[in-house]
Symmetry: C2
Subunit: 219 residues, 2 copies
DNA sequence: AATTGTTAGTGTAATATATACACTTACATG
DNA sequence: CATGTAAGTGTATATATTACACTAACAATT
């Protein structure tokens, strides 16, 4: 057994939010080679004495100003040639930003960060398009077997807001009454008591999670 | 941005099979430091110009002689301190060996490989106990939403064999008639036409997968 | 040849879950 | 006060899941 090869380990984060009723992904414009000037997932190299989750959270904050959001490991990508420099293994994450927090803070590095509609992405650096497809599939699947959708909404929201999240991500329109029955039967929401007047129509009741930030696995 | 840190990347594989109606895990005795003499998951370092899946398959074959089995990426583990040498990120895999193929081939390195009952494991090197718990949870969950159980059985098997796999891994005893109804409704099995005489009782019909090796996601 | 022990194999009724479907309510606007 | 818009609500049907007990086919024993 000869000496093991050395690698750089990166984390790359597929960051989703919902803006103007469209699924959006946060990308940054690369400032240096390789793929200089191309759009890419936010991310960066793992430091000595740093955990993977920690690295993902740090890079996300540094590059985009986004912090305190839902973050989950997606999988690792290590095909030789995925980075033209070679020797880079990427641990991919996916993150969900609430719809009321997608304003991009002007963190030092964040100048080059921008939201893109998931359906209208530019050409991406590295294998980031592949990572995004995997992330999207995971997000779609998790809507059905977890309460992850709340991570895309403000602390208080209407059931119509929630249904919209499902419609946007899954691309299908559930029956309104059945959807509401299903959600309320999960027993994770409570009425705030307030109502939101949003236009020339009946105001909607506001709900919040009974235990905010708790992801429940369903079924 | 300073120069990124360098790491060694390892793959570690949680290999499951069923032996004598008990869930077993394949471990190797470490021949060198750190954790020399301890039991550990098979695995090893990623080579230059090698993909992660490729590395896992290669290490598994080299260290245990096991090849051609179901292999799936589980997740990555990179806590600082998980390896006392530091600077090692592990990409964990899980593998399933059919019950008729668990004889350990005498590959050069495989001398130190042994099956252990999952319920009676020795103390493990690194964070391999943690990896095994994650792998076990994934296996258990996947029984319910995929046809992965067939990967633990020979090409031809009885419905009782199959039910036993579920009982062993999930630790619960489904009703025989309901289980058979459920399995057959998946429409992935066909009768071989043969029957297996196994003792002083009625012989059992043999089944095989309609499309062997195809994992179907259920639901 | 008959008896015993053992696992394979089978159906139906009850309950729970999921689906389909249409009208009334409460507001803002003109 | 008439109009337009999205919020909010219930019931009937279909589908899926669960509970449950006996007969069939063999080997081994007498």
């Amino acid at each position: 057994m000869s000496k093991p090869a050395s690698f750089h380990v990166a984390t790359d984060i597929a960051v989703f939010t919902i803006r103007a009723d469209v699924l959006n992904v946060l990308l940054i414009e690369r400032a240096s080679q390789p793929f200089k000037g191309n759009w890419a997932l936010p991310g960066g190299f793992l430091n000595e004495n740093e955990g993977l989750d920690q690295c993902a959270a740090r890079e996300l904050a540094e590059e985009t100003g986004v912090r305190g959001v839902y973050l989950e490991q997606l999988g690792s990508f290590g095909d030789p040639g995925r980075d033209p420099r070679g020797g880079v293994v990427s641990v991919a994450y996916f993150a969900l930003v609430p719809a009321d927090e997608h304003a991009l803070l002007a963190s030092t590095d964040a100048a080059s960060a921008r939201w893109f509609a998931f359906d209208d992405l530019p050409k991406l650096a590295f294998d980031h398009d592949k990572i995004l497809q995997v992330a999207h599939a995971r997000l779609k699947a998790k809507l059905d077997y977890s309460t992850i959708a709340f991570c895309l909404l403000p602390a208080e929201f209407t059931l119509s807001n929630l249904q919209m999240v499902y419609e946007i991500i899954k691309g299908e329109t559930p029956d309104k009454r059945n959807f509401r029955k299903w959600v309320l039967a999960l027993d994770v929401l409570e009425e705030t008591g307030d109502r939101r007047v949003e236009g020339a129509h009946r105001p909607a009741m506001l709900y919040r999670e009974k235990t905010p930030g708790t992801i429940k696995i369903i079924r």
